[in-house]
Amino acid sequence: MTTGIEVQGLVREFKNGPRAVDGIDLQVAPGEIYGFLGPNGAGKSTTVLMLTTLLPPTAGSARVAGFDIVSEGPRVRSAIGAALQEAALDPLLSGREHMRLQTALHGIAKSEREQRGDELLERVGLSQAADRKVGGYSGGMKRRLDLALALAHRPRILFLDEPTTGLDIQSRTALWDEVASLAADDGVTVFLTTQYLEEADALANRVGIIDHGKIVAEGTPAALKAEIGRPTVEAVPREQAELERTAAVLGRFGERAGASPKGAAVRLGGGESGLADVVRALDAEGIAIETLQLHAPSLDDVFLAKTGRSLEGAEEDEAEAEDAVAEAGAA
């Protein structure tokens, strides 16, 4: 692989702190969207900073687009585009002025700059707002401009660090479409960090789950979910008095699983195809059902299986850990 990303034993240690990245290995193929999933403070952004040459690693090695991130920094930078955490924009400049600056700094010929800028602004749907100051843009517009700027010099590899954090669902979906099209239509390799399970699920060809600086699982979302288990079916009876009987019927189809207080759930031994048998059995017992839900395994289940915590819970743990590190630093 010469144009993707190859990482071996990458480590980053900070003074008086834990290993933010603790010996990770990964490979991203050309044209692939790789989702790097983990809670805040897991090491996602530190990894991106190292791979984009903005932070030297403490140990290990990585090649991006075929170039070593330590000894060939300028060549790496010429091959990559990056939209880092928080849209790094100047509120006093317009979208068009940002494009002009970015294309010029990348050494694009003067005669092409305007055309390239207009083309990208149109691509991300900002042509109408191109001459407005960025300070007046919405969060989604800023993120889209950020993406356009990252694409100014036609990079082969794109790093997106939590590109949709804080965006409403409509803006998030629009950005997902754009990222998917970049990989599918333009062959751009995308390294995407996210803390949103659905984002990794919807976009990524492969997902790496990072926790406490280590990759704890890696694979396609489907393979990861298949690896950890079977779907769960949950039934809520119309009459609460029927809850025990409902649980007993469900118990014929698999082991019990966690359910809402008013329902009973089991992990289906025979997979999704067992749902029809469950419905027939409940009907045969004359149990009126209020709701019946099939839960496919999610990446959160994968995270839970690999780390013993749910991603949501991990957010709190990591935030506490970050606070502790900050307090230790302050002391």
Binding site: T52, T53, L54, L55, P56, I69, V70, S71, G73, P74, V76, R77, S78, I80, G81, A82, L84, Q85, E86, A88, L89, D90, L92, L93, E97, R100, L101, Q102, A104, L105, H106, G107, K110, K133, L149, H153
Partner: protein
């Protein structure tokens, strides 16, 4: 200078100038505050001209030099705050991902200081002349005053850049403002050096470079063409620029740890 470097400096200079002109909150205080102090000083301290040995009978001619120094102090704050904001928002990282050279970044940023310095110098000189100040060195002297004012503004701007790169904080840069004002007050701001009779004050003022920057302006305003004070003034501005630029370049290397 290579064409690539020229393009980078040009684009960043353009951005810096646009940013400066689009922030009235930076321009207005940098113009109003020194002019307000000029009006107060020229009105309240005019009797100082009766002191034996005072070099002119027009206090406003003496005091207008102070406005150029105060303007330069605003340059420390404005240039530094702009750069600190780029660090805080990640804009510096965005630029670091391009083939941008450090020299281009620093030079480009100073373009905003140059424009602000020129605006200030023209405004202060015009207000001073309107208020009755005179320029003994004539029209040529006025042009040299403008050049010196811009040179000092740019030189002080490098200190603002250094502070921003070292601290990465706009608040820290703004915290420098009172420190620099102390330098101004401990100079020959209100009285010529040889009329300061308090020993410690005279000693401090005589080793304070701000004194000689003020005297360079005053030589043109009060005495006419005198090579010595002018050379000293431009020399000190050049030295501050060289020290500030060297320190800022080193701080930039530390700040931009890109491989």
């Amino acid at each position: 200078m290579s064409s690539e470097l020229r393009t980078q400096v040009g684009q960043l200079a353009r951005r810096s100038v646009m940013r400066t002109l689009r922030q009235p909150a930076q321009i207005v205080p940098a113009l109003i505050f020194p002019l307000f102090l000029l009006a107060v000083n020229a009105g309240g301290l005019k009797d100082a001209t009766n002191l034996p040995g005072f070099p002119t009978d027009s206090y406003i001619t003496f005091a207008v030099a102070i406005t150029f120094m105060q303007g330069a102090l605003f340059s420390v704050m404005n240039t530094g705050t702009d750069l600190a904001r780029d660090i805080e928002t990640g804009f510096l990282n965005r630029m670091a991902l391009t083939p941008l050279r450090g020299a281009a970044l620093l030079s480009g940023l100073l373009a905003g200081s140059t424009v602000l310095g020129l605006l200030q110098a023209v405004a202060f000189l015009t207000a001073g002349l309107a208020g009755g100040a005179e320029i003994a060195a004539g029209v040529g002297g006025a042009l040299v005053i403008l050049v010196l004012a811009v040179a000092i503004t740019v030189a002080f701007g490098t200190i603002g850049m250094f502070a921003a790169l070292r601290t990465g904080s706009g608040e820290a840069v703004q915290g420098l403002f009172p420190v620099f004002f102390v330098f101004l007050f401990l100079s020959s701001m209100a009285l010529p050096l040889d009329l300061i009779t308090t020993d410690w004050f005279h000693t401090v003022a005589s080793i304070n470079p701000v004194t000689y920057l003020l005297e360079a302006f005053r030589s043109l305003l009060i005495e006419g063409w005198e090579l010595g004070p002018l050379l000293l003034g431009f020399g000190i501005a050049a030295a501050i620029f060289a020290i500030g630029m060297t320190a800022a370049s080193r701080a930039l290397k530390t700040r931009l740890v890109r491989t």
